[in-house]
Symmetry: C2
Subunit: 259 residues, 2 copies
């Protein structure tokens, strides 16, 4: 927990009082005292400092803070993820790890190779996945909660939803093991906003691939090694971020006036 | 399990017989029958096909295979990791995930911010960590087991060991949160062989940083977000791999004869 986050409705007249895992963390891990200042933030709001004005160091722990929220959060992350619904235990990890890396929106959709039982996972309940998203923000020191959008039917998503949402993106990328292209071949201009689609274990079907390609998605692979979905999501996200920097650099070079 | 791996000593006259989790996987997950061919490999040896010549489909499961091993494994991965010993539960995950991404050697060393108790973790026992490494190989379809080298004292490692091993590498990289450089600024030539150092939670001490810099390590960060070590290792490894491709591309461009 590198920042202590509160919901806006927890704050009253610039003060907040907590008794849950956050209080325990402040007492047991940080070992804080009255007068100490902590990095704090409001979910989907500002960041700043919280000064401890009272503390109860025995269970049930209680900490009261006076907030000074000055820092407007950075703009939203510019990578959104479109995932064929992963196995619940993977999805749980992906929610927190990808949020730590920075994701604006998670789209979760069905695909032929998604096991039907995955749709019964409790991680799809808002109160469950929000815990994971908040853990990711607490890790990365951010306050902007990603959105989670669920579409349980592939065809309506691909035919009706995707044509609308794709307008938001400069790049539509589809990770697909076995393709020869890597990111170096696939994006040649600095991506402003990316929608990155990652398939199920075993990959997308040809029919599904064609739907994505028909909407303008470009497919690429990380390499020849087969990765689990949770590893792949982190690897892909990190590569898209680095590609942006490499291409920002070359844009600078390219725009130099010729001598 | 995308490849079924055997130890060389399990194979007798081109045949192997298994009764453990591999047999269970072949029976229960793959649902294979006599005559089916599976992707198989010998740890630190060749890959090929295994034809099932007998199978017992009830517990305890048993599968006998006739092996045809034709494919010499690719050359060793060109990224080695130097990790300040992570928390055992993290290290377990890092062993399998980083092995799936491709690591030649893991160096595990002490640092001031490594909790002493981490050195008691059972994951440091060879029979424990080999399980994780093999899972990584089974996932990625590889046979070359990474080496694991442990140095429990920082100073002798930094002063006596590092000067010797560093000769193997074209690039010595040190991931350090808070540094302004990214990989784009840090490596400008295609890296042939990389030693990538990743610090403990909370980072390296100034003293430790200086030891690495004194040996020629260049420090960089992924970005401003703070990541857990397991997320960071995957992200960093993936970025180094992509940087290699970007720079291989620009080397090609640079070596074109001028018109």
């Amino acid at each position: 927990m590198n920042i202590v986050l509160f919901k806006a409705e927890e704050v009253l007249a610039g003060r907040v009082s907590v008794v849950d895992r956050r209080a325990k963390h402040i007492v047991k891990v940080l070992g804080s005292n009255v007068g100490d200042r902590l990095r704090v933030g409001i979910i989907n709001g500002r960041m700043g400092q919280g000064r401890i004005i009272s503390i109860s160091r025995k269970p049930p722990f209680m900490v009261e803070l006076l907030l000074e929220l000055t820092k407007v959060p950075e703009s939203k992350p510019t990578i959104d993820l479109l995932l064929a619904l992963p196995r619940p235990i993977m999805l749980k990890r992906i929610f927190s790890q990808a949020t730590a890396l920075g994701v604006g929106r998670f789209y979760l959709i069905h695909a032929k190779r998604v096991e039907k039982s995955f749709w019964n996972g409790s991680i799809l309940k808002k109160e469950q996945y929000q815990k994971q998203l908040i853990q990711g923000l607490e890790q990365a020191v951010d306050t902007t909660l990603p959105e989670v959008i669920v579409h349980q039917r592939f065809k309506p998503f691909a035919e009706d939803v995707l044509p609308e949402i794709k307008k938001e993106y400069s790049h539509l990328l589809l990770a697909h093991p076995g393709v020869n292209n890597t990111l170096v071949d696939t994006i040649t201009e600095k991506p402003e906003k990316v929608l990155l689609a990652v398939g199920p274990e075993g990959g997308w079907l040809e029919y599904e691939l064609n739907k994505f390609k028909g909407q303008g998605f470009k497919s690429f692979a990380i390499g020849e090694r087969i990765l689990k979905v949770d590893t792949a999501v982190i690897a892909l996200h990190s590569q898209v971020s680095l590609a942006r920097e490499f291409l920002a650099g070359s844009a600078k070079v390219a725009s130099r006036p010729k001598s």
